[in-house]
């Protein structure tokens, strides 16, 4: 019998590497690989030659040298005697704080503006359109500068708030006064506001933080149980038991009790008697400017994403929901939003990533984030451009990868489950 295997065998010719589709992809890949390796070795050779020419080895030892510069905003303890590594960590935590708050406010603003842009109210819809178009079409850098300049120029210096015994005796009012019932002072350095403090916290900061976090997690788990039980009862009997007061109790009582036991109180801001304010916390103008600018700018993009997501859900879905007798807010919550989220989340992830990367624009207002410390002052002081830049890029890259993988996990949980 003649089988397919008996088909005349081509003898292998060299030209088949190029013209035979069975071999061509291998040829191309080998060629690409060779070129890639050649390019890498060329770059590597250049780097070593350049480093040798400058007479300096490639090493990260400079990270353990005294930094010697001050950072105004320090979420973790740091003095100018700390190492460059510590400075970079302070910078990284400043970046993370800015990015987290920025994502929060941008989402809040974006969802509000996106929903309002679809509002039937003509004026509101137009206003939101104007907001979105203006912020989307003008560079972020301009918004940062435009917000930063008046914060520094139009606000009084801290010593304008000065109150001395002499002034009280003479009945002289200070040149500037604090707002919000004398609790918040807006100055040209930053905004001084009250800050939470614990009278007698646990022995270490991590322990305190851990205790609060553990209590919160336990409360959430307990609340989830209450909700689950309520759902089970509803499925059995068709009547949902009232749970809101139980939820409130379970969610808030434990943490309030814990904070009360640790002596929670607000540290109020005292007006200066000599130069500076006492107590409270200082929110730097640079931080405020970049946070506001980032939230407004990214919020405009998120508004467009939310609007597109809601519009992508076909009109039939809401009509079907109305036909089932659902009210408008239930329709939104149960029918439109779950479907719209599927469309909204992937682009939302990339907006969060953009916002995180845009925090590096803090350079424009001298906000000392990761780029300002590791890629700025440390780089200039030590002259280790190559090491600093590579390290900084790696940190930014891992931050982006972490955010996108976490958000992708969430995305997978809301996506349509198809068989």
């Amino acid at each position: 019998m003649a089988l397919a295997a008996d088909a005349p065998k081509d003898s292998f010719r060299l030209s088949m590497l190029v013209y035979d589709t069975r071999f061509r992809s291998i040829t191309i890949q080998v060629a690409v690989l060779i070129l890639f390796v050649l390019a890498l070795s060329w770059l590597y050779g250049n780097v070593t030659a350049n480093l040798a020419a400058k007479g300096r080895p490639f090493s990260f030892d400079f990270l353990w040298v005294r930094a010697g510069y001050d950072i105004a905003q320090r979420p973790i303890s740091y003095t100018n005697d700390s190492t460059h590594f510590r400075a970079a960590m302070v910078g990284l935590s400043n970046t993370v704080i800015l990015a987290a708050l920025g994502c929060f406010f941008a989402t809040l603003l974006g969802v509000t503006a996106g929903v309002l842009r679809l509002s039937k109210n003509w004026l509101i819809a137009r206003l939101m359109t104007v907001y979105v178009e203006i912020f989307r079409n003008i560079p972020l850098l301009l918004w940062i500068l435009v917000i930063f300049v008046p914060l520094g120029e139009l606000t009084p210096a801290p010593n304008a708030f000065k109150v001395t015994d002499q002034m009280i005796a003479d009945g002289v009012e200070p040149a500037a006064s604090m707002i919000l019932a004398g609790t918040v002072a807006v100055t040209n350095r930053g905004t001084y506001m009250p800050w939470a403090q614990l009278e007698h916290p646990l022995p270490s900061g991590w322990l305190t933080f851990g205790a609060i976090a553990a209590v919160l997690v336990l409360s959430f788990l307990a609340n989830a149980r209450i909700v689950m039980r309520a759902r089970a009862v509803q499925e059995d009997t068709g009547v949902r038991p009232t749970t809101w007061w139980k939820s409130l109790l379970v969610l808030f009582t434990p943490v309030i009790v814990l904070l009360w036991a640790m002596g929670f109180h607000f540290d109020l801001v005292q007006p200066p008697t000599r130069f500076n304010f006492q107590g409270g916390i200082l929110v730097l103008n640079s931080f405020l400017a970049i946070l506001i600018a980032l939230s407004l700018y990214t919020g405009a993009f998120i508004a467009e994403i939310v609007r597109a997501g809601i519009l992508a859900i076909s009109h039939g879905q809401s009509e079907a929901a109305f036909a089932l007798g659902l009210r408008p807010n239930k329709t939104m919550k149960l029918i439109i939003l779950p479907q719209a989220l599927r469309v909204i989340i992937p682009p939302l992830i990339s907006q969060f990533l953009n916002l995180t990367k845009n925090t590096s624009l803090g350079i424009a207002v001298s906000y000392l984030d990761l780029r300002g410390t590791l890629g700025g002052i440390t780089l200039n002081q030590t002259g280790r451009e190559l090491e600093c830049m590579l390290l900084m890029m790696m940190i930014y890259l891992s931050m982006s990868l972490i955010i996108s993988s976490v958000m992708n996990l969430y995305n997978r949980s809301v996506q349509l489950k198809e068989r």
């Binding site: 190029v18 004026l123 206003l127 850098l141 301009l142």
Partner: protein, 433 residues
Amino acid sequence: MSTQFHRTEMLPAQSPPIGERGLVKWLRANLFATPLNAFMTLVSIYVIYSLVRWLFPWFGNSVWNASSLQECRQIITAAAGEGATGACWALIKERWHQFIFGFYPQDLYWRPTLAFILLFVALAPVLFPHPPRKLFWFTFLYPAIAFFLLWGGSVWLPVVTMLGFGVMGLVYRLLVGRVGVTVATSLGVLAAVLWWLFADGTLAHGLESVSPIGLRAVDSDEFGGFMLAIIIGVTAISFSLPLGILLALGRQSDMPIVKTICVGFIEFIRGVPLITLLFTASLILGYFLPVGVTFDVILRVMILVTFFAAAYIAEVVRGGLAALPRGQYEAADALGLDYWRAQRLIILPQALKISIPGIVSTFIGLFKDTTLVSFVALLEPLRGVTNAVRADTDWQGIYWEPYIFVGCIFFIICFGMSRYSMYLENKLKTDHR
């Protein structure tokens, strides 16, 4: 007998009640539909009113002719009384050329202007449906022409560089009959690369010494303003699109090595901020080049910005490729088209059409991001030129006017681009939804 009443004549149609027609109906439907709506309307009206009340005097007291901020303020005080504020557009009137051209020599402004006008001729194949075929040659030659006009210097360098493409074409023509398309193309590219690496400089020098034709050279330090933003933006846009498409195809390809390299490139570029790439261009690119080799900072920035945009374009195009129904790929295969023909004739035209909004918003983002080059000491309009202008003692302390001016120009360009993309999307729409 009972009497019956019935009308014998038609009544004229009555107009609807006052609440159901005209302005009142519109107001009720669009502004005061529910109490919440009415509340929001009132709040918005109040916000608009206070904004106008705050801004109007400032714009109303604008001064257009003055030679310093001091003089501006004096004029405003004289006209509107003590304590009045006003805009001082005299700064823009006096220094607009710096915002547009940076410190480019004033007597040579015709060169960038001409390059800008020719840009639209070069773009004609993209902008208009049926351009004459000869215009494609102009588009092809435009980068060399623009380079020569902007930077000046000897005419021979761009000419000899463009000849490299001639060498590529020649080698291809000579070999294509004998060894086939793939090998001929690779050898053509190889020949052109060898030409650029070894023949380019010497030949240009030789021709320069034989017949020195050229324009006055302008240094990169003198470039600035919107001219710089447009140069970087247009270059990055035009080179990132083909590069991005290639990267997207590489990422979709079933060759693991090609795919890995493309994914690595795209994810790395997208994972780091543009600022770090710009600092790479200005600080550490020298480490990756042979010892002593360096080139112009604008060129370095352009290359890195192009890579940055290409990675984003690649992701947008990949979305377009993925959105195409599987049947299109299979139909192309069934017709017996090879890979490049299938991509060129079937896949890419459809995928790119889907990706237009994404591609254009990437371009808009890219154009806005050109403002970041001020951090590597280039004079872009927003920070570079504004700070340079403000450093003049006459204009020290002026804040809003330059920002508003620059912001308006950015808005016009970016908004224009987004409207053009909508028009393009509409024009190319073929479905019947």
